[in-house]
Structures are given as C-alpha cells and as structure tokens.
C-alpha cells in the first residue's frame, strides 16, 4: 500500500563556510496536498529546496521521495523521481512560441524532423486541461502577459505527465492580484489532478488561501508545522516566523522630528509603480517596507532619477525639484546609498579616497585639476570619523569588507552636506558590528537635522531604526505606520497581505 507521505526530509543539515544554513531541518509533504513553506529571508527556505533539487549536497539527514531514497541526490535523479521545480525566474525565450517553449529540451521529433503540429496540439491541450488556460500554441512568449508566461513555464515542467511533486518558488512575485488569480486557478487544477505541491512564498495571504498545511522555518530549522491551515492562521504563522525580540542593535531614538521637509505627490513610473504620496519631516527616519515585487525598488529608483518618473512631483523644503537623473538628485541635495554597492555605489578598483571624493571633486580641485593632497586629507578625516578599517584611504576599495565598503559610500555622501539621504538595503551583507555603526551613523545624521529614507527587506531593521514606516504592496503604497503603530505583527501582516492595519483591528 502506498504511504500517505510523498516527501520526507529529516534532520537536514547544511553548512557553508562559517554559516550553518540548515540545522537539522525537516519538511514533510503528504500526497495530494499543497504544502506551504514560509520563513524570513535567510531562514533556510531556498537552501532546503536546493538540497531537494540536488543542487546542494546535504551534510546529514535523509530524503525520501515516494518511499524511496534516491542516492545520490542529483538534479537528474530528482527529476526521475517525479519532482519538478518552478523557479522564480521564468527562463523563457521571448521569441519562441508557446509550443516551442513548453517542449524546450524535450522536443518531439520523428524521422522527418520536429513534429511541430503535434507539439502545438499537446501544449494547447495541456494548458487547457491541466492549467485551465487558453493560450494559442503558436503565440510568441513576448506577446504574453506575465501570468501566462508563468503558466507556460509550469507546463514545460509538467507536460511529460510524470510529475508527482511540484515545487513553486515565489510564483506570484512579479504578478499583480488579477494575474496571481490566474496562477492560483492553475495550481488548484493541478491539485485536483492529484499532484502534490510545495509552495514557497512571502505572501501569507496566498499561503492561507491556497495551502493545506504549512512548515515555518527560522534560522535554518523547522520551528512549526501547521497541519490545518485556515484563513486566520496568519497570526500563528507570523509569530512562528519572527519568534524573537528585536535586540539591542539599534540606537535610542532620541532625535527630535521637525516639520515637513520632503514630499512626493502622485509619483509613478507609469509601469509597476502606482501613484503614491509621501511626506518626510525634517530630522525624521522614514522606512519603506515591502516584499520583492512590491514596488519598493521602483519607488527608490524613481525618486533618485535612475528610473524615469511618468507623473508626479517631488518637493524639497517647499520647492518643487525636477529630478531626471542621479546628478540632478545630487544637485538638489538628495543622495542615494544604493543596494548593490559593489556595482552601483563603488568603483571597486579605485582607492578609497578617490571613492570618497568622487561626488565632490570640485571642492578639492584647483582650476579643474584634482588637488591630491587636499583630497587625501579630506578623505582621511571622514574615514576617521566613520572608523573605516583599515585606515588606509589609498588602498583599493575592492579589498575592504562589506561593512567598510558601505561606510565608504556613506562617507562620500556625508561630505556633500546633503539634506536627504536615501539608504537602500543599507546592511545587506554587512556584519553585526558594522551594522550597529551604520545605525548609529544614521541616528547622527538625523540628529544634525538631515532626513533619511531607509528602504529595507529586514523588518527588524525598519522597526528598530525608523520613526515611521511606509508599506508597499504590489506596486502601491498601502499605508504608513505611525510611531505608535510600529510592531512586527503590523508590519508583517501589511507587507505580506497588504491589509491596512485599520481593517485588521
């Protein structure tokens, strides 16, 4: 007799140099169910999925699929066992047809070459019957909507009819709610055909609506398994996910907040970002929260002129400013510490002092030529203030640690005497010690009267640092959490479900 358990992963441990990514984690999926897998960033969700996929080799633990233990676990053996992965990226060729995409790598061919008609018919039939989608087999991928492309991707994984377990990794991240519904319909249809699924998502609303049971990961371990998921399970899940106090990483919020200083009205990029309004006060730290795909990145890029604004206005100290490029932003007194500092923020092969002086070369130039000694002295001063280590401003930026690189970028903008600082993911890849220093630096900035906008995917960081937090969800700014509303529950429920806190109360 077949067991009810389709997948059983037990005691999985995976260590990377210096990091224990999985610590005796387990995951168990029953036949015919949709099983949710949730956890904060870094909780170990993707690691365990990669172990299952055979991409990472586990250090210890056991994996049973359908009662068997495929050894070794490789992408091929997992595929043969009937496990399929729907990656977050679509992996489609824009100029291929739907049929060509569905059968990519598994084309049907006879003695006289490709069986194009057969492939088209099978693709159409599969999309219609298994995914409830009417997509013509000869349509080009680039003419399809994002949801339809997602369905084509799913069809490619499943069209051979041998799949018994499908792993979805954030399938709706790039979609809006209408498009997501299309994907849900397909997933429910697959379930009715007896296919089991693992559903990885940050969107808790989706998890509760779609999944039969849920496993919650935290710090590389399984902390909770809910066998029966209902609409009101969200609270339980959030508690399991967070499960910790916000520790003493963050400085005392002692600064005084003044009157309105910076405001945007109806700002939109005409694409993903829906028109939004936001005001930041003098001496205030404003946070921006939101999942990947929430429009948070687009918002920051549009503010900074990297992305073209389609409509809306930006005003600074009551004056309307026109920002079409980063240089105009800098001129207006707005500076950005970008999220990918290694590419967007730093010239890695330049000396630290050159990196620091990059934005303000005029100040250390004589008749258009850089005054080297003046430049080095100035860079050394600020490096001392920020405690950039090692204290050698002539060294090349590439060899500094993440935290110190981040401080170099900060240093560059600090000496511009700017009035609004936008920090995009300021502590990604930064160790705890440097984090604390960066937080203190932000606190010092506002104490001196500057305003700061912090965009972060770390809810703890936002709660610990910010006076208020603007929450984005699927391209729109849904609400701003005021100082007395700042709580992990509020923040998580709003970023994952898009529910304004008023509705929740």
């Amino acid at each position: 007799m077949e067991s009810d358990v389709l997948l059983e992963m037990q005691g999985i441990t995976k260590t990377f140099p210096g990091v224990k990514a999985l610590d005796s984690a387990s995951l168990r999926v029953s036949r015919g169910e949709i099983h949710g897998l949730v956890g904060e960033n870094g909780a170990g969700k993707s690691t365990i999925i990669k172990v299952l996929a055979g991409v990472y080799q586990r250090d210890s633990g056991s994996v049973r699929i359908n009662g068997k233990q495929p050894e070794p676990l490789t992408p091929a053996s997992v595929h043969d066992a009937g496990v399929r992965f729907i990656h977050q990226e679509l992996h489609l060729v824009p100029h291929f047809t739907v049929a060509e995409s569905v059968f990519m790598g598994q084309e049907l061919a006879g003695a006289f070459g490709l069986k194009r008609r057969l492939m088209r018919e099978r693709a159409e039939t599969f999309l219609k019957e298994a995914l409830q989608a009417n997509i013509p087999g000869n349509a080009l991928i680039r003419d399809l909507g994002v949801a339809e492309r997602k369905l084509v991707q799913i069809a490619r994984a499943l069209v051979d009819g041998k799949a018994s377990l499908v792993v979805f990794d954030e399938p709706t991240a790039p979609l809006d709610s209408g498009e997501s519904e299309q994907v849900f319909t397909a997933i429910r249809q697959l379930k009715s055909r007896g296919i089991s699924m693992i559903y990885v998502s940050h969107y808790l609303a989706e998890i509760t609506a779609l999944c039969d049971s849920v496993t919650v990961f935290r710090n590389g371990s399984t902390v909770s398994v809910l066998e029966q998921v209902e609409a009101n399970s969200t609270d339980t899940i959030i508690q399991a996910m967070v499960g910790r106090d916000i520790d003493a990483l963050y400085p005392e919020k002692s600064h005084a907040v003044g009157g309105a200083f910076f405001s945007v009205g109806g700002l939109t990029d005409g694409q993903r970002l829906q028109p939004l309004d936001l005001t930041i006060n003098r001496g205030e730290i404003m946070g921006v929260a939101g999942l990947i795909g929430s429009g948070r990145e687009e918002f920051i890029d549009t503010l900074y002129g990297v992305r073209a604004a389609h409509a809306g206005s930006i005003s600074l100290a009551g004056n309307v400013v026109n920002i079409r490029s980063p240089s105009e932003a800098v001129a207006a007194g707005i500076v950005l510490v970008p999220r990918d500092r290694r590419h967007d923020g730093l010239v890695l092969d330049m000396a630290v002092s050159d990196n620091i002086n990059l934005a303000t070369l005029e100040a250390v130039s004589v008749a258009g030529l850089e005054h080297r000694r003046k430049a080095t002295e100035r860079a050394d001063d600020i490096a001392a203030t920020l405690d950039i280590r090692p204290r050698n401003v002539n060294a090349v930026a590439r060899y500094f640690s993440g935290g110190n690189q981040q401080k170099v970028v900060l240093a560059r903008w600090l000496i511009t005497q700017s009035r609004l600082f936008i920090l995009d993911e300021p502590t990604v890849g930064v160790d705890i010690g440097a984090k604390v220093e960066i937080y203190q630096l932000v606190e010092n900035l506002v104490a001196e009267g500057a305003s700061v906008l912090v965009s972060s995917s770390d809810p703890g960081e936002l709660l610990g640092l910010c006076d208020r937090i603007a929450v984005m969800y699927r391209g729109a700014l849904v609400d701003v959490l005021e100082h007395d509303e700042l709580s992990m529950d509020n923040l998580i429920s709003m970023t994952t479900a898009g529910i304004p806190r008023a509705a929740e109360a």
Binding site: E89, L92, M104, G113
Partner: protein, 312 residues
C-alpha cells in the same frame, strides 16, 4: 523600430525598381542571385552562430572570421591546385581542413577560454588573413580547374548550377537549424542560456557546434569564391564581411519574429546583392554605395540593439 530597416530597404528597392527598369528582368535577377552566392553561404554560418549565441551585438553570438576563413580555404585550394600540382580532392581536403581548424579555434576561444565572440573571432579573422598572405604571398592565383570552371559557368535548364547548389545548401541548413531537435536546442541557447540550461541543454556544447557549423559554411563558400573569381584573390574578405553582417541582421528585420533566422539571412544576402547591382545600374558612385551600406548596417544593428532593450 524593428521594422525600420525593412521599411527603408523596401523604399530603396522601389526607388531602384523605378529608376533602373532592367533590375527586375529575369537575366538581372539571375545575376543578382549569382552575385549573392558567397555572401549567402557565409550568412548561413553567421546565422547559426547568432542563433546559438543570441543577438546581443556585443555579448551575443557573432563570428567575424567566416569570410577570412573562406578566403583562406580558397587560397589553400588554389595554391595546392596551381603551385603544388595536387589533385582536387587533396586540395579541397587541405583547404576545408584549414577552415575547420579555424572553427575549432573559435570554439575553444569562446567556449573553453570564455572570450567574447566579437573579440575572439576578430582575432582569428586577423590570423586567417595573415595565413592567407603567407600562403599566397599576397598574390592572385588563377584557377582553371574544370570543376571550378563548371561551378562558375554551368547551367541547368537555364539556371546557374551554383545558384541551385546554394539553394540546396540553404535547405539543408534550414532543416538542421529549424526542423530538428538539435536546431531547437541551438535556438534555445541563443534565446536564453539559463532557460536552455534548466531544460537540460548544454549551452557550451551547442555554442561550440555553432562555430564549427560556421567554419563549414566558410569552407563551402571558398569553392564558390574560387569559381566566382576564377581563382583566389587575397583581400576579398573585406567586402564579404561587410555584406555578411549587413545581410544577416537585415534578414532579422524581415523575419516574422524579428530574430536572425536561416531564411532571413539568405534573403538578406540576396537583397544586399540586389542593392549593389541596383546602385551600380543607376550609376551611384562606389563610395556612396559604401556609405549607404555602412549606414544600413548601423541602422540594422542599432535597431536590433534597440528592440533588445525594449524587450527587457
């Protein structure tokens, strides 16, 4: 934007059709086909490489060495036939073998060592030109081997045998690239390396294949080069290179999906030949023809880059 080159080209054709009335006569059309032959064949090679490497002009697939490879093979064949008294079989084997070695070199440079195709094939092109000079001492070699003369002059029911052979070659390339699993895999790699990889296709292997295919095209083109020129002429790779790039990317503008395809490339070669003949028929200065071709290449490549940008 993607259709702009096609539109401008059609306008040019209409203009030429009106001002040079004999352009659309049967004899002229057959001349146009004949003159397009070596270009059409090297275009088939380039189309394979672009299809496997993607049409990003900088990082995508490109093989600038095909014309130089063809000229090198032609030089070796001519040198063997005329100066060493080799038989045709030996001469062909040596010439085409050298061409295939160029293909292997490109594949190693790009796939194993990881150079950008643009730079790798530019370098191997320079090398091929150099070897050609060594082989021929930069001299023209007249070839009057009966088979070469046959390829030049023979007609079958009033149609040039060379044109028929080229059409057959195009058909073979078409079937291989567009009607087989291998061809689909090649296109998948060019369309999206990651997508191909997750579908179990090895991008490296197929990219290497594409450079070998390009070398085969170069080798085959060499025989037609010899026939057309009644011998080997060092230096003829320059014009061939220009026409090859123009034709292949122009063909993309005409293809329904706006990507480089085999038929698109062949059609492009014929259109470029038509343009050359047309301009000369109405007495356009050769330097202006060069300017116009250059401008067209710019337009075609720029519009490809632009529509790529739009897609992202």
């Amino acid at each position: 934007m993607a259709v702009a080159p096609a539109a401008i080209f059609l306008l040019l054709l209409v203009y030429l059709g009106v001002t040079a009335p004999n352009l659309l006569e049967l004899s002229t059309l057959s001349l146009i086909l004949q003159q397009s032959i070596p270009t059409a064949i090297v275009c088939m090679g380039l189309a394979s490489v672009v299809m496997a490497g993607g049409d990003d002009v900088v990082s995508g697939g490109i093989d600038l060495s095909i014309p130089a490879t063809a000229v090198l093979a032609a030089a070796i064949i001519a040198d063997q036939l005329v100066n060493h008294g080799s038989g045709l079989a030996v001469a062909l084997m040596l010439g085409m073998g050298a061409a295939l070695l160029m293909g292997v070199l490109n594949a190693v440079l790009v796939v194993t060592i990881g150079m950008t195709p643009l730079l790798a094939t530019l370098a191997s092109s320079v090398a091929a030109v150099g070897i050609t000079k060594v082989v021929t001492s930069s001299r023209r070699i007249n070839v009057d081997h009966p088979l070469i003369v046959f390829l030049r002059d023979a007609q079958f029911h009033g149609i040039s045998v060379a044109v028929l052979l080229t059409a057959m070659l195009a058909l073979i390339f078409y079937v291989a690239l567009h009607r087989t699993r291998w061809g689909m895999h090649l296109q998948a790699v060019g369309g999206s390396r990651d997508a191909a990889e997750v579908s179990g296709i090895s991008p490296k292997r197929l990219m290497a294949h594409s450079f070998l295919i390009a070398a085969v095209a170069g080798a085959l083109a060499s025989v037609f080069l010899l026939a057309r020129g009644s011998g080997s002429t060092p230096g003829s790779e320059e014009n061939l290179l220009l026409e090859m790039v123009l034709a292949t990317f122009l063909g993309a503008a005409f293809s329904p999906r706006r990507v480089v395809t085999l038929w698109g490339a062949v059609l492009g070669a014929v259109l470029v030949s038509l343009l050359s003949v047309g301009f000369k028929s109405i007495g356009v200065d050769v330097f202006w023809t060069g300017c116009i071709k250059g401008a067209l290449i710019l337009l075609v490549v720029a519009s490809a880059a632009y529509s790529n940008k739009q897609r992202r």
